[in-house]
Amino acid sequence: MRTADLELAARCRAGDADAFEELYRQHARRLFSLVVRMLGSGEDAEDLLQEVFLQAHRKLAGFRGESTLGTWLYRLTMNHCLDHLRGRHAKMSRATDSLDDEGTAEPMAPAPAVPPAISRMDLEKAIDALPPGARAAFLLHDVEGFEHQEVAEILGVSEGTSKSQVHKARLKLRAMLRR
């Protein structure tokens, strides 16, 4: 995989237009889904992903194969998403979340369980309401299927923080879905 990634990156750097299109075709679908859910808007997702691939094209010279091209692209994408969300939140003077671990108070009172069949729309809406850091970790781990070690690598945090953020996200989703 790494060899194939390095070869593809080398072809891109050499100006092979077909190689960059191949890179795009390999990753655009999953990245687009992730960005739509991170930003909550397909239109914003298109703009952001265009910028991500433009940055990727410029930064491929620095790709050394320490991670897979996919992980490298996910990291670039999540950095853009989180920057975008932090900027948006700052402009709106709303409280922002960070990737740093934060304690989450869990209600101790008994409450109804999450319905066994969660509707897609309810879940999408609840994910959209998560703080950015928890949303990022949850989307990568529970939706995209990355292991915590990979989530940590993509988000630039420790594996423990990834676990903690996913736990926090699941708790918040649970609270929203059983209302």
Binding site: A17, F20, E21, G70, V114, R120, K163, R170, R174
Partner: protein, 237 residues
């Protein structure tokens, strides 16, 4: 120990980790013992498992075809393909494909108009016995035969193209058909008009090229779908 101390183990358990498969993980084993007698953690495991399953089943959002065109334009990829072979919508301002089509129509209509208006200038040539303009009929027949075959082929592959591309291609074909009709109308009035003949043959030639590229574009789209499916399968493994 209280429930909070097992946060990581609870997450691992929901993700499928079991002490029986990880004999060296004493904390996971301790959590499993705790879980057996803790209704609160049992409820959390059940709800988290439900959420995790629903999350994994969420549908993929598919990027519109125009996104690649935008990316390619932003990185300055050499535009090796002619414009009608690229997914057009979104690559340019929304009015750009229309502008191209209108420009083409104006170009051909202008040539036809020139053919009409230059009639007096052609008269002296006729007066000194210049040879008659060549007959376009054989060339027209050749083009029409090629167009009929290509239209049939393009229609059979129409479903391979995305809606935006199909719409622009259809629009451009309509412009060409109008130009062909106008050139023929001009030739009906003035059969020897060289510019009108040239306009007609140019429009027919452009239509052949457009249809050829429509067929090639549909073939590319089919190949792209197969590639994307293969890549998705690989990534999901």
């Amino acid at each position: 120990m209280n429930c909070e101390t097992y946060e990581n183990q609870l997450g691992d358990y929901v993700d499928g980790a079991r002490a029986s498969g990880l004999p060296g993980d004493a904390r996971l084993a301790a959590f499993e013992r705790h879980l057996a007698g803790c209704a609160r953690c049992q409820a959390l495991v059940a709800d988290f498992t439900s959420i995790r399953g629903a999350a994994a089943r969420l549908e993929e959002h598919v990027p519109p075809p125009r996104l690649w065109t935008r990316v390619a334009a932003s990185i300055g990829e050499p535009q090796q393909r002619p414009w009608w072979r690229r997914p057009l919508a979104g690559a340019f301002p929304s009015w750009a494909p229309v502008a191209v089509a209108v420009s083409l129509a104006l170009l051909i209509a202008g040539a036809t108009w020139l053919a009409w208006t230059q009639e007096p200038a052609a008269a002296p040539h006729e007066a000194v016995g210049a040879p008659a303009e060549p007959d376009t009929a054989p060339a027209e027949e050749h083009y029409e035969a090629a167009i009929a075959g290509l239209e049939q082929l393009a229609a059979s592959q129409d479903a391979s193209l995305d809606a935006d591309t199909r719409a622009v291609l259809k629009q451009n074909l309509a412009v060409l058909d109008r130009a062909i009709s106008e050139s023929r109308a001009a030739l009906a009035d003035e059969p020897a008009d060289a510019l009108a003949q040239e306009s007609l043959l140019d429009a027919l030639d452009t239509k052949v090229t457009l249809l050829q590229d429509t067929v090639a574009l549909a073939a590319d789209a089919d190949a792209g779908s197969d590639d994307a499916a293969g890549a998705a399968k690989e990534l999901n493994q």
